[in-house]
Symmetry: D2
């Protein structure tokens, strides 16, 4: 194949891993089944006559754990999913056939990082801080990037540094920084394909407020059909000053599920 | 960013999904925990005061189910993993730290399809048929492709058509076609990065033979450090006659696991 | 405490275990999540400074596996549960609050074994054989036992011998012996508290018929409020000729579940 | 059967449930996989032609959750299990064959409640309080009960009232009351069959000390072969002033596991 694509690839790529490692005990929302991994069979448990042995795994987990993507079926508003489908009836045989995660196409898209704390000259944003439309516009201008229809936009708050701390990352008393209704409306208006953040719930959570209100989820998943990517590791992109890249995300093709753990990549020429 | 990469991507891509959909009841090896997906919370179970509702998932599964990749830690021979590590000691705290699936880098590689039945003028290969070195060489010549170091080579037997039939796909009495010791040695000698097939165990299984002997696993995983990808859907590539492509595979970053379900992609310019 | 109860107990008891051992790979209905047990932590994985070490487990399973009891919420007919509750509405927040397994009181009841093959002078009953009302009545007479209201009646077919064979136990092509509509109606009329059998589905399954029709489940669970106990091991009782005993069954108190694995006991004075 | 046992049973029994209800979100040790229950199939998901429908469950859980029993294989000391078996070698094929929970016989034993706060005239004991040998002896005297070989002794601290509070029950900063090395040695010396408590770790945990040291586990499980029952609900027995009873405990027969959730009963004549 005479392929410009392969030529570019083979001329060398630099890949930044935006996914969190899946480890037992990592911070996650208590609303979802905890991630567990264990080895039912270890080497030596059963050795074949020829000296060969195989080890294997068992995983029990929710799909909204670690770095993950929300399918449109994840959230409903007033009994309706995106496009107006009845949320109750849309579950056929125990599967979300219409807007399940199996309906999300693998993404090879233009990706943009909006590094809000860098723009604001802060080490990171504080719990409960709402990233405003002005913040988003100012950041784009300062980074000299323009959001185009079909882009995937990743919003860095710096909160991701807390992932290693465990429960502090989840927020709770401190709240979590992020965009809210205004920011979601603004970015949806630009026709983005998906939005991501370095926090567990993507959007701003007020101190102690928990998940009582999630307006950005409503605007993006229900009203706009825009996917949400949560718990991204954006520290590497920020350190390297990478604001534009090829964004690669391939959800697991789980029939009828509301989300999937993912390991997104940001790719640039080496 | 003035990026040839983004230019190529945005000039249009054609993506072929090589992964099987993860569905309860799909065929899998009985050696691994069965794939199950269920919805702990459906829309309507708990509706917030503002009319919002979230549905979620629970997954219980092995990692060697559906389309998946084997980490080097999956197989040992005579008590040793690839590189000679003691297979027993290599499990630290219940995790394969050294050769676990978390050590597999995401792949953006040159991919090749070797369509053996097309080369042999057969609809597909029969259970228990061993794909020979001559088959591999003849197929490469007829397709006019050359395997280079670092490539990912996918070997089509046509057996994947049986995936929808359930247990017939697993083989058992019929056996399963594939390469064996000679083919694995030949391809390993070409310096491939990973090998894949459209069968559940990658290599030839004799009728009724089961998994008593897996020489290709030993040669590739233990002796050569070459990853194995199983249960690929190669029918789309074959129908479209695509033999060379950008191969994209991103394993879940599960610390210490022996494998991961994956959804590989073959990408070419549109 | 001056207790006749403790006196009897301490004068010596003989206990017969009616439960199957829970093992990975045991036969079970494919309709339910497979039983899996694995050790996330083994001794030596993590040793405390004082030399102590703890091993632990992870279980993933359905509740209708191994020897188990069906809660009334397990089955509905024409959209209604026992007592007429709407089957759809009765699931509150993803739990069967009304007739879930948590509503089954622990049982210390008079238990009776009806050993049908012994009565009929057969080694065991054949797949698809329907145990008739005449069989039940004849067996009671030959055993000189009378069923009273509140009793737990266990019906032996001899099929339990196949448990060790795996899939043969499940039935499928062969069908499975058991009572059907007539037998269930007759025993319900005697006011039994619960019924059990040594088969996976309790009632007769015609060869190749699978679970397309389960009239005994409808009559017992939906119409009569009588619990069903499945996959009992009744071989020990039969060998010892024990037809009357104290029946002890303690379901797990799983809030809102449709069943529970159980380990019932038959107890007699030593 | 002319059975004094059945006569006593049918003359009426009063049963006190000593098990906690298994609910998603209940307090448990973070060392063990979290208890989760979900309904893969609800009524209406799949209705048979005859109008029948079955709902079912999926459970994912550790075995040391809710009210549970520790098998002797749960704890090792200096690489040895009870009886001196090598803790590493004792795991055969991923199962604790020798001292797994499948080796615990169902219990129908004389049970005693030692209500320590009642004896001491306190509402309940404080976190970190060590129940002394004097406390145990004084309580027995005040209750006028004598511990005999083979008895099951349940030690109430009153801490069980916190179960509904969630994390407070687990202890952590507050510590948890219970016996420690001296109390375990004393009770082991009396030849008890099993010991239980209304706390999550059975023995005293110092404030903030966590599970760094568990001397009572070592003395009972490793040195003495005495089973430990944790997270009992002893409030009902205390309120009713029941100090002596028939204790019924039937562990799940899980091959090779280190523990089992249980639902123990205290039974007295009505």
């Amino acid at each position: 194949m005479n392929s410009a694509l392969l030529d570019v690839v083979q001329s060398g790529l630099h890949t930044v891993d935006l996914g969190r490692q899946l480890r037992v005990g990592m911070p996650q929302s208590p609303n979802h089944p905890q991630f567990w991994h264990t080895l039912p069979r270890r080497h030596g448990d059963m050795v074949r006559a020829d000296g060969g042995s195989a080890a294997n795994d068992m995983i029990s987990t929710g799909t909204h754990v670690g770095t993950h993507i929300d399918a449109l079926a994840h959230v409903s508003q007033d009994g309706k999913l995106h496009g107006g489908a009845n949320a109750g009836d849309s579950c056929l045989g125990g599967k979300y056939v219409e807007h399940g995660v199996h309906t999300i196409e693998p993404m090879l898209k233009r990706g943009l990082l909006l590094d809000i704390p860098a723009y604001k000259g802060l080490p990171d944003l504080e719990g409960g801080y709402e990233i405003t439309v002005e913040d988003l516009q100012g950041c784009m201008a300062s980074q000299d990037v323009e959001v185009k229809a079909g882009d995937v936009v990743l919003i860095r708050s710096g909160w991701g540094k807390k992932f290693a701390e465990g429960s502090a990352y989840v927020g709770g008393p401190s709240g979590v920084p992020g965009i809210s209704e205004a920011g979601a409306t603004f970015l949806a208006g630009l026709g983005v394909h998906a939005l991501g953040a370095d926090t567990i719930a993507f959007e701003m959570l007020p101190p102690g407020g928990g998940h009582a209100q999630l307006p950005a989820h409503r605007i993006l998943l229900v009203e706009s059909g825009i996917y949400i990517i949560e718990a991204l590791d954006l520290e590497g992109l920020a350190e390297q000053g990478l604001h534009e890249f090829l964004f690669v995300l391939v959800p697991l093709n789980i029939f009828g599920a509301t989300g999937s753990p993912v390991r997104p990549l940001a790719v640039v020429p080496a």
